[in-house]
Symmetry: C2
Subunit: 408 residues, 2 copies
């Protein structure tokens, strides 16, 4: 019933001119002091530029990228062919004249050189006062600075991934799977003493596992931008409890293991497994089966053209059928399924489409997003299973193939 034959794609980077045309946008400006944690600038330039830069694109023209002299090397390996240095644009003369206004003047000069007029949209992360100063300077020069509502033009384009982006995300996913396997290998190789796991005779703690995890991530060229979750029950009843370093690993207690690393090219992956070591109780088995089934049912029923919130409803219904609470029955609940089903993954680890009850997004081909139902209860902790899918030919395909197993 959720099938719609609307395999629409918002457009990918190569379609930027068409999308700008359809939205009546004459030019794009993207700013930032860095491309790390600046997904919009990173997307437009296509490579890391340590101290960021100024990207300008007039509709129908090749973009221009201006960077400080020290970043010229990085900028030349970007996807922007026309690179200028701040020096070329007279930045040092502007600095000597008035250091306070030099950066704003530099941007205005670049826009003038590019012949930008009309309606301009601003992207990228910069200090709020810089965004406000730039906006005001552009308005004074007769440009109309757009106040886009969400999703912006660029969000729409970034929401659908071209093949090289899907491949980049998949590669991060593959590496993340190897890390998860290594951690499980390590846990299962530990000795037991009563209910405790021992590593070289010492009680195994979350802190020790996380230290190994950090090393493994580094070896696989993955950056843990925020700390991964390795959360034993019952603390795991809070879906974002990350686990305390001092916490021991106990046989039979479920652990929520959620990692969301960033690869070298800037793309993320997001992956959760829940498991226990040695044994498991009946309640945990029931919860685990319910979450697994909800995830599989949702993935099987994802169709391009459906509303993202319909996917959330499918997951909720599957869990409600088993007697669990969901946000459909009580939006302020503190047990059951207490978060949304998923979110897009790309140069961020939380972007459109949002798969929640409030989402206005539509599922379309070439989106990449998580499907991560979970159940939580202060009494027994949490269970969450999360994979990343890509929408292709109207249906969802998981980007990785990593075992889901209750007990190791």
């Amino acid at each position: 019933m959720f099938i719609a034959h609307q395999h629409r794609v918002n457009g990918v980077l190569k379609d930027l001119d068409t999308v700008m045309e359809s939205k009546g946008v004459d030019a794009l400006l993207a700013l930032g002091e860095s491309t790390s944690n600046n997904p919009e600038l990173l997307y437009l330039v296509g490579c890391s530029i340590p101290r960021g830069g100024i990207y300008v694109k007039r509709r129908g023209q090749e973009p221009i990228l201006a960077v400080g002299e020290t970043d010229l090397g990085s900028a030349r390996s970007s996807r922007v062919r026309c690179v200028k240095s701040f020096g070329d644009l007279g930045y040092y003369t502007l600095l000597a004249k008035d250091a306070k206004s030099a950066y704003i003047e530099l941007i205005a000069k670049l826009l003038a050189e590019a012949g930008v007029t009309g309606k301009i949209a601003i992207y990228g992360r910069h200090k709020a006062n810089i965004i406000l100063q730039v906006t005001s300077a552009l308005q004074q020069r007769g440009l109309t600075v757009l106040q886009e509502a969400q999703p912006t033009l660029l969000e729409e384009v970034m929401m659908t991934k071209d093949e090289s982006e899907v491949e980049a995300i998949r590669r991060v996913g593959e590496a993340a799977c190897r890390v998860v396997e290594k951690i499980i290998e390590y846990l299962t190789a530990c000795e037991h003493k009563g209910a405790k796991l021992l590593y070289r005779g010492e009680e195994l703690t979350v802190g020790r596992v996380k230290r190994l995890l950090r090393t493994l991530l580094a070896e696989h060229n993955l950056k843990p931008v925020d700390e991964p979750i390795f959360a034993p029950a019952p603390g795991s009843h809070d879906p974002h409890y990350i686990g305390l370093d001092s916490e021991p690993i106990i046989l039979g207690k479920p652990i929520v293991f959620d990692l969301f690393p960033q690869g070298r090219e800037g793309y993320y992956f997001d992956l959760t497994r829940t498991f226990s070591i040695g044994t498991s109780d009946e309640e945990f088995k029931r919860v685990y089966e319910a979450v697994l089934e909800a995830q599989q049912t949702t993935i099987d029923n994802l169709r391009s053209g459906m509303l993202a919130k319909e996917a959330m409803i499918i997951a909720c219904k599957a869990l409600e059928k088993k007697g669990y609470d969901t946000p459909r029955t009580n939006p302020t609940l503190n047990r059951g399924f207490i978060h949304s089903l998923g979110h897009g993954v790309g140069l961020t680890v939380g972007e459109r489409p949002y798969l929640s009850l409030y989402s206005q997004d539509v599922i379309i081909d070439r989106q990449v997003f998580t499907v991560e139902p979970g159940l939580y209860d202060v009494k027994w902790g949490g269970v969450r299973l999360e994979d990343v899918v890509v929408m292709e030919g109207g249906v969802a395909r998981s980007l990785i193939d990593l075992e889901k197993r209750l007990v190791y």
Copy 2:
């Protein structure tokens, strides 16, 4: 001659009300979808909040922090005592009514609850369209949104560090020193074959060293937000050349090793050593001595009250005396001292004070910044030495004590 008895401090976080008063600012608003790479929000809340939040402070009042329900746990360990959840503020009702405007309405509601009126300054990194929408919504409600020039009120406060901040930066520095020592230990333990270093019989490459470096950083809980520089000559003539993975390590060829990791609490360190393995030629020795002397002379002559550009001039003069080019003699030069002397270090690795010829900053007590002269030439590569100092009692003290040695 640079001594000034003006041990002024801009104020640290506890002085926020006084600074707001002196600048006529009635309220602060800080935003972001994350605290990572959002130094202003991180500074105000004092701990990592994975999905960020909304921080509001009215002058003379305790600040309020609003976060999504899933981040309540993180927010409760922040330095803000009054924490509200988005749900408390009616966010889900706003979402159900109009998802597009809900976030902006949420901010307006929080400001109204805090009783904010008058002049407000906005901080934090968020999408440019969000900043513009929030600004416009606040203006419509009668607030005056400040368009602060640089340095902003918050930049001035963040520029001077309190004791716990200096200590946090020093701890990151200590860990970074251990990493450098380990890398040098590894390099000196390698066998030689002709001019090449061998690791287990294979030619040692930059890629292999960087892999070990990533692992060591992870073990020391240090995040390499941007890739560290491990740049052998002659590529190192570009101060930001990071070294190619395939490049071999050659005996006697200087390597510029610059790492700028972020510690767990968000504070950075920045550290450069240049050295060669086994041997060194005469030219490299001369260049190394010139850079070392310029760095020491500059540190010895740093005084609170002097202009930051005066420190740059001291370093330039020391290098000019030895016959090298500097930005004083030719600002577009491509050899000699081709960058500025240093920059502040804190929750970013490039902030005020800027120690360049164009800087308008003043050196004052409790600033923490790099002192990093360097010399570069396409013919022989680069030499840079970098330490981080804190200004205390009018003079500079290096935060770490790591050997500087030409040949290992």
